[in-house]
Structures are given as structure tokens and as C-alpha cells.
Amino acid sequence: MKAFVCLSVSFSTWNILWSMGALDTSEAQRELPVMDRSALAMAKQAGAEEIIALGWVQATDESVFRQGLAFGANRAVRIAQPLDEAAATDPLVVASGLAEAIRKLAGADSAPPGAAGEPAKAEPAKAEPAKVLVFCGEASAEFGRGAVGPMLAELLGIPVVTSARALEAAGGVLTVQAWEDDGVATFKLDGPAVVTVGADAPAPGKPNMMAAAKAMRAPIETIDIEPRPASLRPRGVTSNEQRRRGKEPVAGSNLAETVQVLFGRLRERKVV
């Protein structure tokens, strides 16, 4: 079965400027979120015949696909249509587009992809449940905070397991451990499903140099998906910027005294 891993963008070192309720993200640096890396690792553990990294991110953020390829994806497909701010932060818009793309790509042959920038080979959407495994990093950079996975499952007509922390594959059955409200539940999956990967799933470190170099040369395919209208109307942005604090040095004649002085101050502030 093909596996899709939905990629998003994490703003790793921000230079986001906020002024009068508007944001400028042009200077922010982007990278593949940690939980998306975990999702790629789980897709490999699941023994998928082909892993397709799929994302609806801007062309300028193509580096996340290269990272996805370096972390084990066989193909990388970017949804070509640009999204405005309202649509990009609406999980229903993103999930609907990803679901349509998955249906098209699941029906297509895994033929050699076209050159970068050319639409990938695709077939019309099918109404029956999609026969795919889908992995999503949970609550990563997507603004639905973990919503896209369950929405995808509904739109694809397949089950979902959320907050997965471990996965094993044996005899065509996936055993998934995932957080529920009251503890860790074990699920058995023997068919198509969406698995969202939680923060405590193991994440691979850095890809090896060979994989990273190969990923740099690989094509990034594109697919055309018309976005549905956004269902959330943004009404302005406010800043949660850090307040400046008065730096107060703490020192004593030796370490033990320094620690004692600190805890005295913390007690005054009633935080210990």
C-alpha cells in the first residue's frame, strides 16, 4: 500500500514582523517540523511500498520536501495552487485539498514523475474509501493543531488513530500505540488509515549526507488542486510578544550561597 506523509512548514528561526495587525513572514526561516520527521519514520516502519511526501506549501518553501526526501520519502509532491492567508490557516481547506490530491495520486501509477514544476500524473477522484496509509505530524506548523489528520480520515472515508507514539508492522497488520484521554491505547490496523504522530514519537536525527545530497537533486512534482473557500474569516492578529524583564543578577560568595539567595527571591515571588 502507498503511504502519504503530509508535510508542513515550521518557522524555526523567526523574523516575523508584526505591525498594525499584519504579519510579514518573508524573512522567517523554514524547516520540516520534528513531528513530520517522526511521521516519515513511521511510514518507513509501516513497510509502505512507496512513501509520497505531500504538502500544500508555497513554492518558496520547497526545502521541506527536500528534507522529506532526505528522511526517506520516495517522491515529493507539492500542491501548486497558492493559498491566501485565510485559506492556508483553515484546516478544512488544507485537509480537503490534501484529500483530493491523495485520491488522485493513489489512483495514478507511480510512474517516473515529470520534471519539477510539471503537474503529476493523476486520475479523477474516487468516491470509495481511499486505499492508502496517511501519516501526519500532529500539531506541527499546521494551524489546525492536529486537526488535518482526522479531517483527512473523514474525507477519505477511512479510520484515524491520533497521537501515535509507536508503531510496529507484522504480517500486514500495524500495531499502533497512541494516547487516549485515559492512557496509552493499542490499536490494530489492517487496512487504510490515517495515523497522526504525536510529540513523543521517536524522531530521526539528521539524514545521512548521501540521502541529503540525493534529495537535493530529486524533482519536486506538483499537482493542481483548486482550494475550497475558507470557512474561517480572520479578524486581525495581535502579538504575544515577550515582555522585557528586568535582569537581576543573583550571586553569593559561593555556589551554595548563590542558590540560597535565588531561592529566597523565588520565595518572595511565591513561585516555590
Partner: protein, 370 residues
């Protein structure tokens, strides 16, 4: 005159609870009995507020109103979302239904939290399937849920099936007086900013931030009713677990009162591991900088970084963390931040309340020895 709501004079003792429940000032007490004015919009908010059952709404369940707010309450989870919904319903002049999958043994706690009724969904489907089918049948104006594991799995499915707006982890709700829409504030760019959004469509779906919405109402005088809805055609999709190990999930960083965090300045994984002992002493949890996670000293779940979210501890202790922009944005809401770092010009020094400019590993040892 209102037609649907009737005052049963023989039961009314003139206590005035209905006056307080009415958002439209459409109830009065005349000669010891409740009287409904022309301005009554028949929202039904007074009906469950009456302690003697003297107000009756014809045609519907006495506790709920069509187009009211639903609150999905998975078994064993807090009832705080009901209380949040109550506040919205009172502004909008509508009712709150606590939606559950099993007959409650003690429905009064749902009423005390703010529900007008407990709606029990019955059928062969999973929670998402039942909720989708029920919402299609009855058309609530909104569906709320506290943003814990089950609600965060079920409610996006419901929104997708209904084609509805979905607001994830709202930390503030702003109902429009007398209208059905609810604006919400939610974290934006992982909490560095906040954005206000207006959902569109018939049934907006919200999960609520469990930290921002932690309060549970305890109005023991509230009354309500239990109602069942049979849904034989609802679809089951999600698998049942084959087993559940009842373990407490580590307190997430966002909910911890004390966070003891470390970075590369600690020098080694062994030193980093000692943070756990200090965290245990202070009743806190261990956090880590991105560098510490990348070094394999800590799990991704321990990452203190605004790409994951903002944390709200009373005390944040940072050992050997230089303080990137995203780290410092993540700790912006900490009540007191302490930096232990022997480097002179690092970012964290600009945001900490207290600074110990000494070797982080040595200070950690001294704290453990204290």
C-alpha cells in the same frame, strides 16, 4: 405573547431565578408569580433555571432548544467546556446540551456545570459517527469540546463531515449578543501571535484550550433533563483499541507549573539527565532547548520552542540555554524565568528575571545538593 413557554402558576414560588437567567429582560415577577413579557424570544434559557419546574417549553425537550450549543463530553473528561458554552449560550439566549455516548449515572453534575440537558447518543457507530449523524438531524448552532485527545480526534471529523468551520484550541470566545455567531481567539504561528476568527456556516465546531478553559461551574441549583437519540444509521470508522494501559500522561509542558529546562551549556547528556531530579524536587517537568533535542538528550515532546507552543509555568529555570528568538517567545508567559548561563551576551539574559552567571552544570549540582 410567547406561545411555546408556559408558566405553571401552581408551581411558581416567585423566587426570581428565571429573571436572572433571561438575557432579554423579558421575565418579571408579579404578585409572587413569574410573568413573561412580549419581548420574550422563547430562547428557553429560563426553563432549566427554574428550581420548581414551573416553566415549561412546549414542543421540545424542556431542557434544550433546537439550534442550541452542543458540548461533546467524552467519558471521564472534565466538564469545563460545558461551563464555557454556558457563558456563550447566556449571551446568545440559547441552550446547552452535554452530548455523551452513555447514560450518565449522575446527570446533575452536567447541569451544575451549565448544561440544560444531557443528550445521550445511541447507536452502533463510534463517537464521531454518532455526533455527525446527530448534528445532521438536529442542527446545533455550534459544537464545543475540551481540547483533549478524544475531542481533538472526533471534532475535526465532525467539522469535515458537516463542511463546517473548525477552530482549534480557542483560548477566548466572543459571542455576539443575541446572535448565533461566536468569534474566537486562537494561537497563531504557534502562540507567538493570536488571531481572531469568525467561523462561517451552520454549525461551527470548536475545541477549547484546556488551560484557558479550566473552570467548571458548580451551580447545584440548576436543573435539566436527560434525552436519548437513537442513531442506527450512523457510520463506524474508527477502530476500538485492543487494550488500554491506564497511565498518566506526563504533564504537558504547556500545563506544568514548574519547568526545569536544559541546553547545550550543560555540557553532556549525563548532566542533562540530572534535571529530572531537580524537576521532581520542585514538582515540575523537564524541558529542553532545540539544540538539546537535536543532540538526543531530550525527547521532541520536551522541546521549549514557539514552533511547538507557548508555555505558562509559574517558574521557568533554564540551564545552559542561550535563548533563541523562538525559545524566548515560548517562555514569554512564564511568571518568573531564571537563566543559568555563564556566557555574557546571549538572548536569554534579556528575558530572564534572574540570572546566575556561572557554570550551569555546577549550579545544577548545587541546587540538587541543597
Amino acid at each position: 405573547m410567547p406561545e411555546k413557554i408556559k408558566v405553571l402558576s401552581e408551581k411558581c414560588d416567585g423566587c426570581g431565578q428565571c429573571l436572572q437567567a433571561c438575557a432579554f429582560f423579558a421575565v418579571d415577577v408579579v404578585e409572587g408569580k413569574a410573568v413573561l413579557a412580549e419581548s420574550c424570544v422563547e430562547c428557553g434559557a429560563c426553563v432549566p433555571a427554574c428550581p420548581t419546574g414551573a416553566l415549561e417549553m412546549a414542543g421540545e425537550g424542556a431542557g434544550a432548544k433546537a439550534g442550541g450549543i452542543w458540548v461533546f463530553v467524552p467519558e471521564g473528561t472534565p466538564l469545563a467546556a460545558i461551563t464555557a458554552a454556558r457563558a456563550v449560550a447566556d449571551e446568545q439566549g440559547t441552550t446547552v446540551s452535554a452530548v455523551v455516548a452513555a447514560e450518565p449515572t449522575d446527570p446533575s453534575r452536567y447541569y451544575a456545570a451549565g448544561a440544560d440537558e444531557v443528550l445521550v447518543l445511541k447507536g452502533p457507530a463510534d463517537a464521531a459517527g454518532l455526533l455527525i449523524e446527530a448534528a445532521r438531524k438536529e442542527g446545533p448552532s455550534a459544537v464545543f469540546g475540551l481540547g483533549l485527545a478524544t475531542a481533538r480526534r472526533v471534532l475535526p471529523r465532525v467539522a469535515a463531515a458537516l463542511g463546517s468551520s473548525y477552530v482549534a484550541l480557542a483560548d477566548e470566545l466572543m459571542p455576539a449578543y443575541g446572535e448565533k455567531t461566536v468569534d474566537a481567539n486562537r494561537p497563531y504561528y504557534s502562540g507567538r501571535f493570536r488571531t481572531r476568527v469568525t467561523p462561517s456556516g451552520k454549525t461551527a465546531v470548536f475545541t477549547l484550550d484546556p488551560v484557558a478553559f479550566a473552570a467548571v461551574g458548580r451551580d447545584a441549583g440548576r436543573r435539566g433533563q436527560v434525552r436519548s437519540l437513537e442513531l442506527p444509521d450512523a457510520v463506524r470508522r474508527d477502530p476500538d483499541p485492543v487494550s488500554v494501559e491506564k497511565v498518566a500522561r506526563e504533564v504537558p509542558l504547556a500545563q506544568a507549573r514548574v519547568v526545569v529546562a536544559g541546553g547545550p551549556g550543560l555540557g553532556s547528556a549525563e548532566n542533562f539527565a540530572k534535571l529530572a531530579a531537580l524537576a521532581a524536587k520542585l514538582g515540575g517537568v523537564v524541558g529542553a532547548s532545540k539544540e538539546a533535542v537535536d543532540l538526543g538528550w531530550a525527547k521532541p515532546a520536551q522541546l521549549v520552542d514557539s514552533s511547538v507552543g507557548v508555555i505558562y509555568p509559574n517558574l521557568y529555570l533554564a540551564f545552559g540555554i542561550d535563548g533563541s528568538t523562538t525559545h524566548n517567545a515560548a517562555i514569554a508567559k512564564a511568571r518568573v524565568a531564571v537563566a543559568v548561563n555563564d556566557k555574557p551576551d546571549v538572548g536569554i539574559l534579556g528575558v530572564a528575571d534572574f540570572v546566575i552567571a556561572q557554570d550551569p552544570a555546577a549550579v545544577l549540582e548545587a541546587m540538587l545538593a541543597r
